[in-house]
């Protein structure tokens, strides 16, 4: 098939935006945004604590966090599947093949990224602040909050990296979500399905939408960052 024709057809599909497409896009965003928020709630404090406290086993933990950043999604999917499956330890909750399962899998995938990258950001800032904070007598708790706040602009980039990884991920959500129409079908699993069915114009349309969604999220976050930072922050 001619690529040009394919593109035209997929643009046609996007312009005939239907409720089915909205459903898929909306679910994707719902799952990914929830997972990224959860990953931030877990990962940012972990990153800040590992970045500023000295304790036994710290370098090992940092190495572990960095390795976990590259965790293959299918492995996360498999492990979460085993935990949630009927015979698994959390089987009674009946979460397998629901959006919750996908949120769990993506949270597991993104938390190490947020934790490892924010650890580096916070540690660099801490190098600069440490003596001044010691002099002022800032408590450990206040230190964590102050560093997270003062690193907020760099941390936004970290969060975007996590979002990018989660929204583009297919292996884990496929395994634990099952790509069930109207229930757990998200953009990436739909693309995989339509491609395998030979519905290339639909797959391409979804792919374009995914790209646009990522782009819009990045633009919105960066614009938000820009308004605050502009000309103001060194």
């Amino acid at each position: 098939m001619d690529i040009g024709v394919l593109f035209l057809q997929s643009f046609g599909l996007i312009s005939n935006w239907d409720s089915n497409l909205s459903e898929i896009v909306f679910l994707s965003l719902q799952v990914t945004v929830t997972a990224v928020v959860l990953a931030c709630l877990l990962g940012l404090p972990i990153g800040a604590m590992v970045g500023t406290f000295r304790f036994f086993g710290r370098s090992g933990l940092i190495l572990g966090m960095n390795v976990l950043m590259g965790l293959p999604p299918v492995i996360v999917g498999l492990v979460v599947y085993l935990l949630l499956s009927a015979s698994g330890p959390m089987g009674v909750l009946g979460l397998l093949y629901t959006p919750f399962a996908m949120i769990i899998a993506q949270t597991v995938l993104v938390t190490p990224i947020i934790a490892a990258l924010s650890r580096q950001v916070i540690e660099d800032l801490w190098m600069e602040y440490a003596e001044q904070f010691a002099s002022l007598g800032v408590s450990r708790r206040a230190r964590i909050f102050a560093l997270l706040w003062d690193a907020r602009f760099s941390l936004l980039t970290v969060v975007l990296a996590g979002f990018g990884r989660a929204v583009a991920e297919v292996g884990a959500v496929m395994i634990v979500g099952g790509n069930i129409n109207h229930v757990t079908r998200v953009m990436t699993t739909a693309i995989a399905l339509e491609t395998s069915r030979g519905q290339l114009e639909l797959a391409l349309a979804l792919g374009l939408v995914l790209l646009i969604v990522s782009l819009v999220v990045n633009i919105v976050v960066m614009a938000f960052r820009g308004t605050i930072v502009r000309g103001a922050y060194a």
């Binding site: 602040y129 002022l136 206040a142 690193a151 103001a232 060194a234």
Partner: protein, 262 residues
């Protein structure tokens, strides 16, 4: 533990017997080594309450290290530091404030920098607001209160750092070369601010390598070179009659080459 308690008591007792009120801060035989290299050797000095003690000496003499030790930021190798005749403690540190050679300002507005310090030392509500206003006024930063601290000019940043150090009303203010990178006008502003602080009864210990500044500001003087105190006493006496060859040479502007480099 018992031994150090004994020592502490005997030192205070010794001072009281001799009819001297203990100095606000003093160091006895202070030594600091790093990787076996002695960077400060048997430093003895006293900081008298309500006075301005200026620490002078060439680059690399150990002035910044000395200030960090006196503020309890790094542990000494041997020796003792006393605060009001008592062994240095956490409480002593919180009664002091330090401004570093390169001021460390939070990535926030001028106002938020002041509020942060006040929150840490426990001021809230109207008292905090009052202190913030006072700090902005004395530092002349009222007009830039809402500007991010890190876009201020060098002089403004240094003024903010000093104003922030003063908001919690410390008993002792430690300043590490606050005017090293400033032009004469900005320097003069900082000196006015320091004057004002000591006018409020705050004891000042300031490091400088600027002789003129030392002459303008010093009540007492500590001359440091190669990690040793090469002269200490009332500034006017010491300037008129430098007690060591090293200090005389420095005052005459003769270049000093560090011993290990000779």
């Amino acid at each position: 533990m018992t031994r150090s308690n004994d020592r502490r008591r005997s030192y205070s007792a010794e001072l009281i017997e001799s009819g001297i009120t203990p100095p606000l801060l003093s160091a006895r035989n202070l030594c600091f080594e790093m990787q076996g290299q002695p960077l400060l050797q048997s430093v003895n000095l006293s900081v008298r309450a309500g006075r301005r003690t200026i620490v002078i000496g060439p680059n690399g003499a150990g002035k910044s290290l000395l200030l960090r030790l006196l503020h309890g930021l790094i542990p000494m190798t041997t020796g003792d530091i006393y605060w009001k005749g008592q062994r240095f403690s956490r409480d002593a540190q919180s009664a002091q404030a330090m401004v570093f050679q390169r001021p460390v300002l939070l990535r926030r507005s001028v106002l938020a920098n002041l509020k942060f310090a006040l929150k840490v030392c426990g001021f809230v509500g109207p008292e905090r607001a009052r202190r913030v206003q006072d700090a902005l006024r004395i530092s002349g930063l009222m007009d830039v209160a809402n500007r991010p601290a890190r876009v201020l000019s060098g002089g403004e940043q240094q003024r903010l750092a000093i104003a922030r150090a003063l908001v919690c009303a410390p008993e002792l203010l430690l300043l590490d070369e606050p005017t090293a990178n400033l032009d004469p006008a900005a320097t003069s502003y900082i000196e006015t601010l320091i004057d004002m602080a000591s006018g409020r009864g705050i004891t000042v210990v300031m490091v400088t390598h600027d002789q003129g500044q030392a002459r303008r500001l010093a009540d007492d003087l500590v001359f440091l070179q190669d990690g040793r105190v090469e002269g200490t006493g009332v500034a006017s006496d010491l300037f008129a009659n430098p007690r060591s060859e090293a200090m005389k040479a420095w005052l005459d502007g003769r270049l000093h080459v560090r011993r290990e480099e000779m």
